[in-house]
């Protein structure tokens, strides 16, 4: 997919830009594209390095696991097919906590383990997603992050007066998006009226 996105953007930009007389800007965009990416990675990569360090402490000290335990009852409601005290439940909880803490690097491997555990527990027919799997993936496509550290760093770097002033809007919007996704999952799953949506604040 990225193959076509990348090629499509470049070809479209070149044709449109040259046809509308933007050749100068287009050429300079190409010449500065590389250095512009490197300055962006310095900002973003610095934040990733710092927060990965902090989150490693949270993980090693058992804070992540403790928070995962707190979320277990709520997640059991959303994913009713999970075995109580099973592998899938453990990894799902850890995945959600890592997402909440903004630790994407840790969340993905945990999420993949959760998917494998769900497949084994549900004994899914080959190649078919179970309703719990679908709900779980939808939760992961909605951002659960309490502190979007990369975004906040970019805002600070760009000179925002208060980089965090958007956070209440971010939390409300995340909650709304997640609720919409979960409601639709619930409705399509057949349990209409599964009103409960999870979101930490």
């Amino acid at each position: 997919m990225m193959n076509y996105v990348f090629a499509g953007l470049i070809l479209f930009a070149a044709v449109w830009g040259v046809a509308t007389g933007h050749s100068d800007a287009l050429a300079s965009a190409i010449l500065t594209g590389g250095s512009s990416a490197v300055t962006l990675i310095l900002t973003v990569g610095g934040a990733m390095t710092l927060w990965s360090g902090i989150m490693a402490i949270a993980e090693k000290s058992g804070l992540t696991e403790y928070a995962a335990k707190l979320l277990r009852p709520l997640l059991g409601l959303l994913l009713p097919g999970m075995k109580k005290g099973g592998e899938a439940e453990k990894y799902v909880c850890m995945n959600v906590v890592s997402n909440l803490l903004g630790l994407g690097n840790a969340a993905t491997p945990l999420g993949l383990k959760a998917m494998q555990a769900m497949r084994d527990e549900h004994g899914v027919l080959s190649g078919q997603a179970s309703p719990d799997m679908m709900t779980f993936v939808v939760m992961n496509t909605a951002s659960l992050q309490l502190l979007p550290t990369t975004l906040l760093t970019l805002r600070a770097e760009a000179g925002a007066a208060d980089p965090m002033d958007i956070m209440p809007c971010v939390w409300l919007t995340s909650a709304a998006a997640l609720t919409a996704g979960l409601l639709l999952c619930g409705a399509l799953r057949g349990f209409t009226g599964i009103g409960s949506a999870k979101e930490g604040h």
Binding site: I57, I166, V170, L184
Partner: protein, 170 residues
């Protein structure tokens, strides 16, 4: 309030680690090393998408698209500058980073467009990538209603981003 959350999360985690007898410095270094590696790993993709996105911005087609879409999205107060972000966000995280930095450079992080773009970025994820990786890892090809449900969540997020910024910050 926001600042306190950042300060508390860092000091709280370090303190909790100390209390639990973790060597917080060495653990930080190990984690940071991993974060640095992850950052280095996305540089090639980020360069590809920065090139593509800056060419798109330089071509002037965004202004044209913005004008075309203005009546449609203006009704729900979505700033036209954020349309490229809405399009690329579900597909590519690196692309979204390149787009949002462009918006910050052009309009500023405290402009209406800058704020709405920030909320969009902070409350959505790279949907298609996530679906592909998660289901791919367990060999699931029939993803059922996952993509429609996830895209509904994304669309809700985009609309709510404009709505919450309009109502709560102006």
């Amino acid at each position: 309030m926001g600042n306190i959350i950042v300060i508390l999360s860092v000091t709280g985690i370090v303190l909790f680690g100390l209390v639990k007898g973790v060597n917080v410095f060495d653990t930080f270094l190990a984690g940071a090393r991993e974060g640095m590696r992850a950052a280095a790993a996305i540089l090639p993709a980020l360069t590809a998408l920065t090139l593509a996105v800056s060419m798109i911005r330089a071509s002037g087609c965004l202004e044209a698209a913005g004008q075309m879409l203005a009546p449609l999205i203006g009704a729900i107060r979505i700033p036209p500058e954020t349309v490229p972000l809405m399009l690329i966000r579900p597909v590519s995280g690196s692309g979204a980073l390149a787009v949002i930095r462009g918006i910050f450079e052009q309009s500023g992080p405290d402009s209406f467009a800058g704020k709405v773009a920030s909320v969009m970025m902070g409350s959505t994820e790279t949907t298609f990538y996530t679906v592909a990786v998660y289901f791919g890892s367990v060999g699931v090809k029939k993803t059922g209603y996952t993509v429609p449900a996830a895209l509904t969540a994304d669309l809700t997020g985009m609309i709510f981003a404009a709505l919450t910024v309009t109502l709560m910050m102006y």
